[in-house]
Symmetry: C2
Subunit: 311 residues, 2 copies
């Protein structure tokens, strides 16, 4: 693969930024990669393991001369990051982001955007419950979706160049309208996360069941929830605050539906429960056929293709 | 390992029964294993792959001469299974079960129990989202918990013999009071399953988001939910109908807690969300330390130690 951007700058050095750097290095699509973080500890850790070619002390230093700048900070920090880098951007540079919410990021970023810079919002649907500069790995994006929500005035040449870079990281790309993106993600990711957090909180509060019992007897259901609920608190706080309308809409539907099943349990309506549970199996089959998961049974002690660098 | 029971009979030939047979055969703890199912198709499939030494056409035939009988049918069918086998049980035989609810199984089974037979209720905390005679595998119980809820008049000699058998399958054993068992499982397994079913149902009903979008963009959160929601509908219907009180109790707490977080989102209270999400991380760490899961990041394409025989 040949170099797509001579210099790529990563603002933020967490799981996604680290994985981008490692994957881009493997693919040979970045001439050189700089990065920065507001946390001195994170910068030092990134330097220690050589996560990027150059760890800059601040955003201005990182973006100097960069052809592609990727904002890899929590959604709530995107506006501030953009304001910081704006005066230092190279004319003609492309800025993209990896935020899980798109309308809010666009609203935060565009006011700070210099005229001579292209902004193409994006969102890789990939992650693990780990975070920080040591959690990245090159295979994170392999066969995952990377959604782009280009704005109406997007430069077609720059869009196709960014796509070439992203595809080289292993991801499949699809374009989407920002509002539709936020709704789809509220259903497939944001609300499930909130529910998992809630269920883990309920277990934690229950005095009659000890924490040791919950931990020991975390059968498959709860174990998966705790994995989801271990995700980065700052990132998720920002997701819920910035995709509020879609999440509240889906939560309302969820509660309604839950009450229907709760009533079926209370009334002893086995047929209704059985019908419902049978229908939900079909979606799962679709996901397996779409290649987003395997049909191998998960019994909690998976051997992973690539271990994280450390925890 | 030496033979613990000369003949073991399995009533039901699904995931759990199949895994018991394969694990007991590997461990050499059963002289011979018979099994039966009410479904002719299941019996034929079990015969085809030699899942047990002898597939009997009915429960009476399967339990004839058996020293240990394991009821591996859905919780709602335990009473009927016990009534069927009762007249054919060998004097001194031990009957156990693998039901996910214990108070209801005890209430269903004990009225049919002959005086000369020992009943020791049990529940292996192991499973996958697959079901049926082809889904079993010998390693299912390795390092998993197998809870026993012995009744007050339980014969200590027979209890320790059953423990020897279960340990040989790879499981760790703990005793628990039946009511406490049902509460603990309502928190760690039953309610999480209902919630996963509900969320998958909400996604299915949402007209503005297509099924193909849900399937394609099932980021980590939703993918785990669909896996849980793909579990056997009959088994889960029975769980909710028979552990009604504990599940409704936990569901009530869950909804309360969800409303608190929902309100925090609506009011924009980021601190409350961040605090909550930070606390839930601790439980996850406990589960990893307790050895019930690994800290390797799960990004959805796990390589499994043992593939299922087929799907």
């Amino acid at each position: 693969m040949s170099v797509v951007y001579d210099k790529v700058a990563l603002i933020g050095l967490g799981l996604i930024a680290g994985s981008i750097s490692l994957a881009a290095r493997e693919a040979g699509v970045a001439g050189r990669i700089s990065g920065t973080s507001r946390s001195a500890k994170t910068r030092a850790a990134a330097r220690d393991i050589g996560l990027v070619d150059e760890v800059a002390d601040n955003a201005a230093g990182a973006v100097r001369g960069a052809d592609l700048v990727i904002l890899c900070v929590p959604v709530g920090a995107m506006g501030r990051a953009m304001a910081e880098i704006a005066p230092h951007l190279k004319p003609g540079a492309v800025v993209t982001d990896v935020g899980s919410v798109k309308q809010e990021v666009i609203a935060q970023v565009t006011p700070h955007l210099p005229d001579h810079v292209h902004f193409i919002p994006g969102h890789p649907l990939a992650g693990t419950e780990h975070s920080g500069p040591l959690s990245g790995f090159a295979e994170l994006f392999q066969n995952r979706w990377w959604l782009l929500t280009p704005l109406p005035d997007c430069d077609p040449g720059e869009l196709s160049r960014l796509r070439r870079f992203i595809r080289a990281l292993g991801a499949n790309i699809e374009d989407m309208d920002p509002a539709h993106h936020d709704l789809v993600l509220a259903v497939t990711s944001h609300t499930p996360h909130l529910i998992a957090y809630t269920m883990v909180g309920v277990a934690d509060h229950l005095k009659r069941v000890t924490e040791s019992e919950i931990i020991k007897y975390s059968a498959a259901g709860f174990r998966d929830f705790t994995r989801i609920a271990a995700s980065d608190p700052t990132m998720w706080r920002d997701v819920f605050l910035t995709n509020k309308d879609a999440v509240l809409d889906i939560l309302g539907r969820f509660t309604e539906e839950l009450f229907v099943l709760q009533r079926a349990i209370r009334m002893g309506d086995g047929d209704q429960l059985h019908d419902y549970f049978t229908r939900t199996r079909a979606i799962r089959r679709g996901i397996i056929e779409a290649g987003q998961d395997t049909s191998a049974p998960d019994f909690g002690r998976s051997v992973k293709p690539t271990p994280p660098r450390s925890e």
